[in-house]
């Protein structure tokens, strides 16, 4: 009977496999057009998901662009985009931005953020208080936080950046950023931040953990290093969810696309490779 069981299982697997192919076939009849706009930090994820989704559903057209987080829900409200990618929950008020009524937020990824400094800064840990002092302009010299005698150069993201909203909320506990000073500058994108931190001595900034390279040092906050494990076990607090906003509950191709991004296959595969953390990992 053993061989019979084996054959049955094999047949079952074959049938399931076949039917899943069949399902994919059925899904590939899905057609429509999806326009995605919004956060540039989520763009690599969106592009990758779009590529994979298009392979399974050749009739669906996906065009994605990115300008800034707030563009996402705004474009959705105006009806010029089906999905708005945003780095905070746009159905709630955050500092500087009002909530968007009538939109539904779908969590798609967990984004950890890291505080980074130039290699020449000999500091490896800062407390929340230090960070508040530095980014509000009250602490101006590295020696005040245990470093050498050199002026701190603060690099900030421009207003409206989702990374900035999250960093202010989680790392600075809501404390306001400085707005002017001889050693203060703002940059537009994560890439610019990366270049600025890598090339400017005594500089401090912050970015998604995914962008941290070995040409800069990522700081521990309150003694906890910014690692994926520390985010998952709840010790490292500076992280946020990435969201897809839709006008009401999504339907058709848009619904399928969001479902695909949230599926275990994508979350544990490509999304992990892009150095985001799957939403299922968080309790």
């Amino acid at each position: 009977m053993k061989w019979f069981k084996q054959i049955t299982i094999a047949a079952l697997i074959a049938v399931i496999g076949f039917s899943s192919v069949h399902v994919a076939d059925a899904a590939s009849k899905l057609s429509g057009k999806i326009v995605i706009n919004g956060s540039s930090a989520l763009l690599p994820l969106t592009l990758q998901a779009a590529n994979e989704f298009k392979k399974a559903n050749p009739k669906v057209k996906i065009s994605a662009s990115a300008a800034g987080s707030i563009t996402g829900p705004q474009a959705v409200r105006k009806g010029i985009a089906d999905i708005g990618a945003v780095d905070w929950d746009a159905t709630k008020d955050v500092p500087g931005f009002k909530k968007f009524d009538g939109q539904v937020a779908h969590k798609v990824a967990v984004i950890p953020f890291a505080t980074v400094v130039n290699k020449n800064v000999g500091v490896s840990n800062l407390t929340t208080k230090d960070l508040q002092g530095i980014f509000s302009g009250k602490i101006k010299n590295w020696k005040d936080v245990g470093g050498k005698d050199a002026e701190i150069i603060v690099v900030n993201r421009t207003f409206g950046s989702g990374t900035r909203v999250n960093f202010q909320d989680k790392a600075l506990a809501g404390e306001d950023f400085m707005t002017k000073g001889d050693n203060y500058k703002e940059v537009k994108t994560s890439g610019d931040m990366k270049t600025a931190i890598e090339t400017t001595p005594n500089a401090i900034g912050y970015m998604d953990l995914a962008y941290v390279t070995d040409k800069m040092s990522a700081l521990s906050v309150n003694g906890v290093a910014p690692t994926e494990a520390n985010v998952i076990n709840g010790k490292y607090k500076v992280w946020g969810y990435g969201y897809y906003m839709t006008k009401g509950q999504p339907t058709g191709a848009v619904k399928e696309f969001i479902a695909y991004v949230q599926s275990a296959k994508f979350q544990n595969g490509s999304l992990k490779k892009l150095k985001f953390i799957p939403i299922s990992a968080m309790k």
């Binding site: 707030i70 705004q74 421009t158 207003f159 409206g160 950046s161 500058k185 001595p201």
Partner: protein
């Protein structure tokens, strides 16, 4: 198309042409009338195109103006133009910093780039032998095609560390870095068009000048440059326009901090960089957004003023 059809028709013999047309239709359609009609047709096409171009441009103006004036619903005229306090989080929309920054940056850029580019134009059009000229001109054109993102990146990674080393300042971002990057960007525009203008001066002028015993310096200074002045002015205007309007590269090296640039090395912000930094990050129907559109419109007004000034100076120069 027009050219070839005219050539084909005027090329054929009148008698044959007339004969066939007379045979084919009642009225003779003679060449004069046809040319006349073609002329008129061509003229209408040109007028229509000009109107279309104007329509598009005015639509853009209207878009910017209509959105921009909404700013004054919430803040006063004086606040916008004469306050240096730009802090949208607290409803402060003073644009003086950016207006000043734009003027300062453009002036500094022109100060460096105009003498340099005219020297390069003279070098190309007068000094260099023909074959080298033909090789060098496309290379200059090439500099225009380098995307501004690349210029910005080079500015950030090569120029700013250099400025930091030379001046000993902590950051290096500011008006000076931006002006140097812009100089490199407008150099090809100004020098290539000036070069064309100088080359277009009829040869007999410089021949006559040399024949009168003038040195090369004299010929260039007193004959070629004055004769080519209109073209050079146009080149400067075009370069200036690019300097005022350039964004992607400036954003990367100017520091983007809303503070008045009282030093060449202090991080600051100009109209364009501020628009580009913030326009994609503000709510659509906020005073902030309107203020950015107004700044775009202002940018246009500033360049119109600057261009008018240059033209006025030019006309005054011609008369005096």
């Amino acid at each position: 198309m027009l050219e070839s059809s005219v050539a084909a028709r005027t090329g054929s013999k009148p008698s044959e042409l007339g004969g066939s047309i007379i045979a084919g239709s009642g009225k003779p359609f003679d060449r004069k009338k046809r040319l006349f009609a073609m002329n008129r047709f061509f003229r209408y096409i040109c007028i229509a195109s000009a109107c279309f171009v104007c329509l598009i441009l005015f639509l853009i103006l209207i878009l910017m103006f209509r959105t921009g004036v909404l700013t004054f619903r919430d803040i006063s005229f004086a606040d916008f133009f004469f306050s240096t306090n730009w802090n949208p989080m607290e409803e402060q929309y003073g644009a003086l910093i950016f207006i000043f920054g734009t003027f300062a940056l453009t002036a500094l850029t022109l100060l460096i780039s105009v003498p340099l580019s005219i020297a390069i134009a003279v070098f190309l059009s007068v000094f260099v032998p023909g074959w080298l000229k033909n090789a060098l001109r496309p290379i200059l054109d090439l500099l225009v095609g380098i995307p501004s993102v690349v210029y910005g990146y080079l500015g950030l990674t090569v120029l700013i560390p250099m400025i930091r080393n030379v001046t000993g300042s902590g950051m290096g971002d500011g008006i000076l870095a931006a002006a140097l990057v812009l100089t490199i960007m407008v150099l090809p525009t100004i020098s290539r068009i000036s070069d064309d203008a100088i080359s277009a001066v009829p040869r007999k002028y410089s021949d006559a000048s040399y024949a009168l015993g003038a040195t090369r310096f004299h010929t260039v200074w007193k004959v070629l440059l004055p004769s080519a002045r209109s073209g050079i002015m146009y080149a400067v205007i075009l370069g200036m326009a690019r300097a005022i309007g350039e964004t992607m590269a400036v954003v990367m090296v100017i520091g983007n901090t809303a503070q008045l640039a009282d030093s060449l090395l202090k991080p600051t912000s100009v109209l364009t960089s501020n628009i580009v930094m913030q326009i994609s990050n503000v709510p659509f129907d906020s005073t902030w957004n309107y203020a950015l559109y107004l700044m775009g419109f202002l940018l246009l007004v500033i360049s119109i003023l600057m261009i008018a000034t240059v033209r006025w100076l030019q006309r005054k120069g011609v008369q005096g």
